[in-house]
């Protein structure tokens, strides 16, 4: 090969070609990766309105919101007291009950175990409710209390509270 006269210039050209190529490739890959995220119509599946007039005290119903189960439970006085009087130091993911409800008797939760996504038992009268009188996840044994807080088992956090509001006394809008 002929002697290279201008080494600096050559390495500059090499470097800029490589970096431009890298930027170009990244820009090309981006839309492909992005296409795998939830599509607009999936995101738009907004909100659900639920009539809660017929729910008796101590009963719960499960509704579907964004493909997920949402638990709505009308708590008994005993359940409310249990949820309010618990010692925060006993909790794995400390949260007070007042921050998790809008009205004391109504508890609204995303019914998905925060461990690996199963639907915990406890909605039906006949279901196991776990050691803390809330929900029990049969998959790997997580116990939730009457505020949906994790008390025992592998789940790291409390059952999530979805965004919702009371439209009137008998209707809840989730989402």
């Amino acid at each position: 090969m002929a002697e290279v006269k201008n080494n600096k210039r050559r390495s500059f050209l090499q470097l800029s070609t490589i970096s431009l190529g890298a930027v170009g490739t990244a820009a090309f890959i981006w839309p492909f990766l992005k296409s795998m995220n939830p599509a607009e119509d999936t995101l738009a599946l907004g909100s659900t309105e639920v009539n809660i007039a017929d729910i008796e005290e101590g009963q719960g119903i499960t509704v579907k919101w964004r493909g997920k189960p949402v638990f709505i439970r009308k708590r008994t006085q005993q359940e409310i007291t249990e949820a309010k009087t618990v010692n925060l130091e006993d909790l794995k993911d400390p949260a007070i009950d007042d921050d998790r409800v809008k009205k004391d008797e109504w508890l609204v939760l995303v019914g998905i175990c925060t461990h690996l996504g199963c639907v915990p038992l406890g909605q039906k009268i006949t279901d196991m409710k776990g050691e803390y009188n809330g929900w029990y996840c049969p998959c790997h044994g997580s116990h939730y209390d009457s505020s949906g807080r994790i008390r025992k088992g592998p789940a790291p956090t409390n059952l999530a509270v979805p965004p919702y509001k009371f439209i009137n006394d008998t209707t809840i809008k989730i989402g």
């Binding site: 939830p38 599509a39 493909g67 461990h115 690996l116 199963c118 592998p154």
Partner: protein, 409 residues
């Protein structure tokens, strides 16, 4: 215009014509005709050929299933039932495919354990081993994706639990999971992409298998004595000896798998997967396919979410490092009086882990899973690297032929 005279290597002019333009004929002759196999190889050396044949059967049966399958949450379950009831021989295609997957894993496990016992992963076959672990990973991904397709309860909840593993990763976990699912929960977007990937991954596997075989052919096959080939007298040619031996193995295997396909096609299936997927109800016992159960046992043995996920992936990833963890120069366990028993115990332990992985994670099962987990990692991280400090290997035979000299006395 005519080029240089074309060499006449073969009697058949068509072969000559092809060979001159693309030397593929001599390639096959070299790799699958004259290829020297150590003459002491036993039937464990037929499992690679078995696995290759199953891969082809899986691809063919899969393509024909795909002609009648509909990847949509409203129709997937019914389309599989239609395959079972209305499509001509659809039941056969499906039973071949579902049992084929299970037998694929049986064969691959024997193939891997063969490699571990006889030390085939050691110099100079490390890359061959690494490619093999990649194939194993791809197989696990493929069968996980395939298991989602019939859209039964196990399909749905298996997919939910496994994809949720990714949410254990700090910070990016949730986003990564949503990205994988294309939705906030397992849904139609998920089923669609799982089908697309399930279709394509087997062809990727096929490519990696080609590299895997090419790599082993560079330095030749290992053998039960774990010593190098010294002369031509140590070997037999692939054709006809190995080809016919493998063919016999394939026949025996065919009888076995046919017995299951025709007389017990649901032996390895989960009843719950004949219930259509219901996103609002989780079945009481979620179990993975039995062939992934040892890793599921490890996941559940750890009381912490992230810890469990890390150890589970770690249990697979550690296989990549086996060639460097093992410090002994002797390959075959036949000549390693102590390691041999630890190796056997490793096999048994893996089996037990699989068993408890299918049982509820509580009480005695949980205890056994934890002990199994400790031995699994202890084997790789303590026994394998350090045993050669105390182990005295037996004297190796001078050559493969020498093994047989002693036998006539």
């Amino acid at each position: 215009m005519s080029g240089p005279a074309e060499p006449k290597k073969y009697k058949n002019p068509v072969l000559n014509w092809i060979e001159f333009r693309l030397p593929i004929i001599s390639y096959f002759e070299r790799e699958y005709g004259d290829y020297p196999m150590p003459k002491n190889c036993n039937y464990f050396w037929s499992f690679g050929a078995l696995a290759t044949i199953i891969l082809v059967v899986m691809i063919v049966s899969g393509i024909f299933l795909a002609m009648n399958y509909t990847p949509h949450t409203d129709m997937a379950f019914d389309s599989v039932e239609r395959i079972m009831r209305d499509v001509n021989y659809g039941w056969l295609l499906r039973y071949i495919h579902s049992n084929g997957a299970a037998f694929f894993f049986i064969v691959i496990y024997i193939h891997i354990l063969r490699g571990m016992y006889y030390g085939s992963y050691k110099y100079p076959r490390e890359l061959n081993w690494i490619l093999g672990v990649f194939i194993y990973l791809l197989m696990m991904a493929t069968s996980f994706l395939g298991y989602t397709l019939p859209w039964g309860q196990m399909s749905y909840w298996g997919a939910t639990v496994i994809t949720n593993l990714f949410s254990a990763i700090p910070i990016i976990g949730e986003g990564l999971k949503t990205w994988l699912l294309g939705d906030y929960t397992v849904g139609n977007a998920t089923l669609n992409r799982f089908f697309a990937l399930h279709y394509v991954l087997p062809f990727v596997i096929f490519g990696v298998v080609a590299l895997h075989v090419a790599a082993v052919h560079v330095h030749g096959s290992n053998n039960p004595a774990g010593i190098d080939i010294k002369s031509k007298g140590d070997t037999v040619t692939f054709f006809p000896y190995m080809l016919f031996k493998d063919a016999l193995a394939v026949c025996a295997f065919g009888v076995l798998i046919s017995a299951v396909i025709f007389f017990g096609p649901n032996l390895m299936a989960e009843v719950d997967n004949y219930i259509p997927a219901d996103p609002l109800v989780t079945p009481a016992h979620i179990v993975p396919n039995w062939y992934l159960a040892p890793f599921y046992a490890i996941l559940r043995a750890v009381p912490d979410k992230l810890g469990g996920v890390l150890l589970m992936f770690g249990a697979i990833a550690i296989l990549f490092f086996l060639p460097w963890l093992d410090r002994s120069k002797v390959r075959s366990c036949n000549y390693r009086p102590m390691y041999k028993w630890f190796m056997m115990l490793f096999f048994v332990n893996f089996f037990i882990l699989g068993y408890v992985g299918l049982k509820p994670a509580e009480g005695l099962y949980l205890l056994i899973a934890r002990l199994g987990l400790i031995y699994y990692f202890g084997f790789f991280l303590i026994i394998t690297p350090f045993i050669n400090w105390i182990e005295k290997p037996k004297t190796l035979p001078a050559s493969i032929s020498d093994i047989y000299l002693g036998m006539n006395k």
